[in-house]
Amino acid sequence: METKNQFEELRRIILSDDREENNERNQRLLEKIDVLEKQLNDPDEFVKILHNSKEQVVDMLGPHVGKLIRKFIRSEMERLSENITQKRKAFFSFDYLRRNKKESANGQLAQVFIIHKHSGLVIGEYGNEDTIEPDLIASMLTAIKSFVETAFGDGESDLESLEYGNYTILLFNFEQFYFALITEGILTKEMKSLYFDQCLELADDSIGSLSFKEIDDVLTNKVNKYIQNTFFSTSDNA
């Protein structure tokens, strides 16, 4: 016990200077904190501090702000991309095209033909407006198609489209017949792909099973209805 008291006495004697110094330092720190507290409570003073210490502030916040900005931009880009995808899907759906047919002429269908590949006879056709002489148009299209495929191709490639002014004629070829879709306005790849899917579906479901040994009005009336129901029914009712 006596030893412990002696040790305490020794420590008081040796560290008395340090303690005084610490007390002074603590006092100064408290004073500084008081000053800072006052300055932080005063917006003008705070701005002044930031202004005077901007390099330190940037160094200190830079990495964190950078991460935040990157995270924000990535998040916004993801939202934007998703938004575009959704709008694109909606825009290029057939329902949308049908609904907005009258509002926008871009890539809209004016007329659809199904034409016998070799004879050029009309198997079926339907359009929003009556075309003068669809039989002549179908035959002439077939002649032009034969001409291009024979004169410029190897005979194995098919002519896929013709463009004239504001119109594009899309040609989708099957074994015995081909589709000629007359579209008006700008035609995107997505729309072309959608139209092709519709043709494929119609060919698989209905047209492919028909006989073309004789092309008469019974056959063409039936096919006309198929075309109307596939490509034009909703728009006509809209």
Binding site: G120, L121, S139, A143, T150, D217
Partner: protein, 161 residues
């Protein structure tokens, strides 16, 4: 009345009067400018046989069409051929006879009608050279032109039975 569509191809040398025959006969014809570009012109005519209407799509193939592949491409899917020669020019007859031989080998079951055109220039009833034909016509006067196409439609109809 039932309406049946058929593809008809008109063949013959350049000066035999094929296009004049068409102009004399059909109601509607495609723009003639196309003829010089792709070697073809197309017209339409309906013919009534009994209770059926035959809608004839007539392909007028340019007589000087040299491209053999193109020629073949235009002939595919034909239901009847009309071969026209000039009754005053034997060479045009010889030419369509050669053509007929080829057609018989490639399209043996397809109807072919041989027409001697420009009969208005004949001094007698028939050409001055030996010729086998189905009908004589005059695109200038219109004589027998309607009959030639009616005969064609009738043959198609008979073929159907």
């Amino acid at each position: 009345m039932r309406e049946i569509s058929k593809k008809i191809v008109l063949l013959g040398n350049e000066s035999v009067g094929k296009t004049s025959l068409i102009k004399q006969y059909v109601h509607s014809i495609f723009n003639e400018e196309y003829l010089s570009t792709i070697g073809i012109n197309i017209s339409k005519k309906s013919v009534v046989i009994g209770d059926k209407t035959y809608k004839l799509l007539i392909w007028d193939v340019a007589g000087d069409l040299m491209n053999e592949k193109l020629y073949d491409a235009y002939l595919r899917g034909t239901h009847a051929f009309l071969l026209v020669f000039d009754v005053t020019l034997e060479t045009t007859y010889t030419s369509i006879m050669q053509e007929l031989e080829v057609l018989n080998s490639y399209f043996p079951d397809v109807n072919k009608i041989i027409i001697g055109n420009k009969m208005d220039l004949l001094e007698g009833d028939s050409p001055a050279f030996d010729a086998k034909f189905d009908i004589l016509t005059s695109a200038k006067t219109g004589q027998n032109v309607e009959g030639a196409f009616f005969d064609l439609a009738k043959r198609i109809d008979n073929e159907r039975g």
